[in-house]
Structures are given as C-alpha cells and as structure tokens.
C-alpha cells in the first residue's frame, strides 16, 4: 500500500498571533522539510500538560512556507486546543505530519470556488494558493457569525477574489455562505469546502444541483490519525473507511450525503 511519508517530530513554536477571542495562528518550525505537504492534509499534535486531554489533536495545515515553516489556524474549543494555544514561542510541539489525503486539482484550467466557514477556512488558504499558482481562477467565499470570525483576510485576498457572509451582516452579505449572491453568478468548474458539517452539506447540495465536482473536508473524531484504530470512519458508498487516511478530503460522490 502506497502511503505518503509522514514524520514524527519535535517542532518549535516560533510565533503566535491571537486573531480573535477564539482563533490563534500558530507558526511552527519543523526540523524536517514538509514541502511535500498538500492542502487538506493535517498534523496530529500531542497536547502536553492538560490532564483532561489524552489524545493528539488533528489540525489542518493552513500554510507551508519555505519548506519548514508551518502555519496552523487553531480554534480554542476544549481543554486540548486551549492548552495548545497557550503555548509560548520557543515551546516544543510534537507533531506527526503530513497526514491524510488532501484536495485534488482540476484537470484543466478552471474557475474554482472555495467555500469556508469558521476555522474551516484554514486549509482553503493553502489550496487557494496552490490553485492560483497553477493558473486557476480562485474565488473564496468565507462565512462567519460576525466580522471578527473572518480572520486572515489579507492572506486570502492575495490569492483570489474574496466574498464574505456574516450572520449579523457586519461584513459582506448577511446570512450563510450558501445564500450568497455569488453562487447565482459564478459558474464554477470545481468547488472545495471546509467548515461546519451543515454548511458543507449545503455546499454539497449546491454542487450536486449544478453538476460541479466538489470536495469536502471531514472532521470525524480521530484517535490515532494514521489508519490503525478505525475510530474515525465515515460511512461511504464503499462502506466504513478511515477519514484520517482515505480523507479527510472526500469527493462528495463518495459520501452518503
């Protein structure tokens, strides 16, 4: 079985930026090159010093810069992610990466629509950059509850056009991403999405309705992250398969949505 090479390594936190009351951008230096990492892949991060946290936490890769600099957008949800976000620059972060299968690329020059919600925007930044560099037309559609949820805007704007929705109307169109007027105007050749499951299911329904290929990134609960424990399975058209090794990115044709 062909597996992408991943590494177990002690990395160093070199910078940390708090982006809002829940999101933190961690910038990590890896001892080995991770230039082979693909958008949509993830890192399994050991959480040290949290008595209530036992398992590693899977976090999507947000950006890889210059072979050994990794950016991770982390939302503080529970004790594990809070402990991770409390680390200070200089701290050691033990990670296994890159893991899983990432987003694919369109086979011909395409209009690509990348729809993200909440912290799910993270892998779309890396995929948007890759698509833009390959000459595809990149449109981001990013949603949040309020304007402060929509972070790293300048980074996204560097790789394509960016449209926003907020539930309170404080930035972009008011409502959900799937209600944005762009969806009626753009005729995308490929849709990529990552975010809360109801949002992704609505995006998948849109893609199916318009007969557009669509890839989603699932966040099923994981234990090992490397295909050993079979905990994170998704019930697909091919039966139960591991999200960590066969995903986290899936073409919606594979899913029973």
């Amino acid at each position: 079985m062909q597996r992408p090479t991943s590494h177990l390594m002690d990395c160093r936190l070199i910078d940390k930026q708090r982006l809002n009351d829940r999101y933190v951008l961690l910038i990590v230096e890896t001892p080995l090159s991770i230039s082979h990492a693909l958008p949509g892949q993830f890192a399994q991060i050991r959480i040290d010093g949290s008595p209530t946290t036992y398992l590693r936490r899977p976090i999507s890769l947000c950006q890889v810069i210059n072979e050994r600099e990794l950016h991770l957008l982390v939302q503080e949800v529970g004790d594990g992610t809070k402990t991770l976000c409390a680390l200070e620059p200089g701290a050691t972060v033990n990670m296994i990466l890159p893991l899983g299968k990432g987003y694919s690329m369109p086979s011909s020059p395409s209009i690509c629509l990348l729809i993200g919600g909440g912290v799910g925007v993270a892998p779309l930044l890396m995929q948007g950059r890759r698509l833009a560099q390959a000459g595809h037309q990149v449109h981001f559609l990013l949603g949040g509850r309020t304007s402060t949820d929509l972070v790293m805007r300048a980074s996204f704007e560097a790789f394509g056009t960016v449209n926003y929705t907020t539930e309170d109307g404080s930035l972009g169109e008011k409502g959900f991403v799937t209600q944005h007027s762009l969806l009626q105007q753009l005729n995308p050749g490929f849709v990529y999405t990552c975010g809360p499951k109801p949002m992704m299911q609505a995006v998948a329904a849109y893609a199916k309705q318009h007969h557009v290929p669509c890839e989603v990134s699932l966040e099923n609960l994981m234990a090992c992250g490397i295909g050993a424990c079979l905990c994170c399975v998704e019930d697909t058209v091919n039966g139960h398969i591991c999200t960590c090794t066969e995903g986290p990115v899936f073409n919606i044709e594979m899913l029973k949505w």
């Binding site: 597996r3 991943s6 177990l8 036992y54 079979l230 019930d235 139960h240």
Partner: protein
Amino acid sequence: MVDQRVHLKGMTLRNPVMTASGTFGFGEEYTDYLDLSRIGGIIVKGTTLRHREGNPYPRMAETASGMLNAVGLQNKGVDYFINTIYPRIKSFDTAILVNVSGSTVEDYRETAARIQELDNIPGIELNISCPNVKEGGMAFGTSAAGAANVVKAVRSVYHKHLMVKLSPNVTDITEIAKAVEGEGADSVSLINTVLGMAIDAEKRIPKLSTITGGLSGPCVKPIALRMVWQTANAVGIPVIGLGGISSATDAVEFLLAGASAIQIGTANFIDPSLSQQVAEGIEVYCQRHGFASVKELTGALLVDKQGSFCSPRSECR
C-alpha cells in the same frame, strides 16, 4: 548485554514488547515512525471469518487518561487478510500474530485453521473478550465454560502458539485463565478493554453509537496490573500483560507482577514510536538493576513467601 529474548511455546520473541491488536493496524501504518525489527512482535487487527463493517460512527470518546472505543471488529475477513495483507507484511522482521475473533465457535475454528496455513504467522491471539460486538466476543470470555469451549475447539485444529486474550469484565479472571489453560492454551494475554460509557451532558446523548464501549489507556493500568498479578499466580502458562502501558517503567511493572511479555496498546496513538522506546528502556532497567536477562524480571516482585507485602527487603523472597 542483556538477553531480552522471550521464549514462548513455538516461538521466540526478540524482546518482550509486542503491540496490541487494534492499536497497530497491520504494522505497516507505523513504519514511518519506528523500526519493526526492534520490537518483539505485533498482533494485527482482529480478524473474523467474514468481512465486518463494525459499528456506526461515533465509535470513540476521549476520557481522562484514556479513551473508549466501540469499533466492533471492523475487518475485511480472513481471506482478505491471507490474500492481500499477509503478502505485504510477511517479511517484517518481527513476530506477527493474528488476533482472531468470531460470532460462533465454528467461526473461530475455521478462521484459526486458515491462518495456520501461513508460514510466517507463528501464533494467534484468540479474542474472547471484545466488548463491542453483539454476538460472540466477550460472551465467550466471561464464563469459564464458554471460554473453555471455544479454546477446546480451536486447539483441536490449531497447532501453533495459541494465546488467549482475556476480558477484565469478570468477577474472577483467574477462573477463566485456568479454564483456557486446561484446554491447552499456550499463553494468556490480559487485559482487553474495560466496559465503560461516556455521555455528552449538553446534548444529552451517549458519546458512542453503541452507548457502552471499551475503556483503554493509562486509566486502566492499575486494574490490568492487578489482574496480571492474580493470573500469574494462578496459572502455569505464560501471561502476556497489557493495559495502559505507556513507558518502559510501566512495562517493567507488568513483568515484575508476573508477565513474561507485554503489549503496548492505546499509547501507540499518542507516540507511534513508543514500543521501540519501551524495548530499549527495559534493557536499560535490566542493566541498572543487574538483571542479565529479561526472563529474570518475570515475577521478580519483592514479596514474602506467602506473596504478601514485606519490608525491609532482606525479609522478602
């Protein structure tokens, strides 16, 4: 140089560290992180006669110092193992045992018989202790008669090393151990997971699709250690200890309690290179304490002649 070898009937392990079934895939999932030729053996994922999809998601819940799982023996069946997996892993430089499970006695016997034909599989671990399946599994392992019955059936067709994995979800594990020893088991491994449950209070729902599941990780270690101690004092066949082992010191504790070898399970998820480190750490312990071989560690707990606590050390056996 410490002699780390462990001699079990029909096979010799390089060292006492094995990896537990269901936590190490087929070994190939871990080759990026450790050198398989540095560990004693691997016990591959539970295999049944026919393909099983396992239980619905969610199948896992994290707990304090551990996790619950309810995977339910998902696997592609013994023929898939023989035809597809085995050719890929048969040349691994470590002992490869197959964990065998079933819904009926006949399932166990047939699966064991097919695996017997594989030259590079020196033994099987008979799983009569899976808490996550409706039929079979733990049902066989929670009564002495049921355990004896399935071991007797498998023993009649399986002539290599027969390890039997015991459930902790019983009143007296030594009764089960003695029953399987009586039917010809070559060793017993313990413990499988402890039946447990987790609830999401905010959503007012169970965290597992099966409601209950198997608890593993450091939180079960004291239970496992106690059961290994009791079992090692009750049977003559080797005891393989597992349950929450996360360091070389943990492993040494199991050996001192009477285990001949150990298995690393859930801790593989936290550190996929752990089993190799534990093997190295046991050697360091032996050197530091003047043991020429790992074998001498088995049951070397300092207690008095009656097996009771004793202090000072000079009065112990």
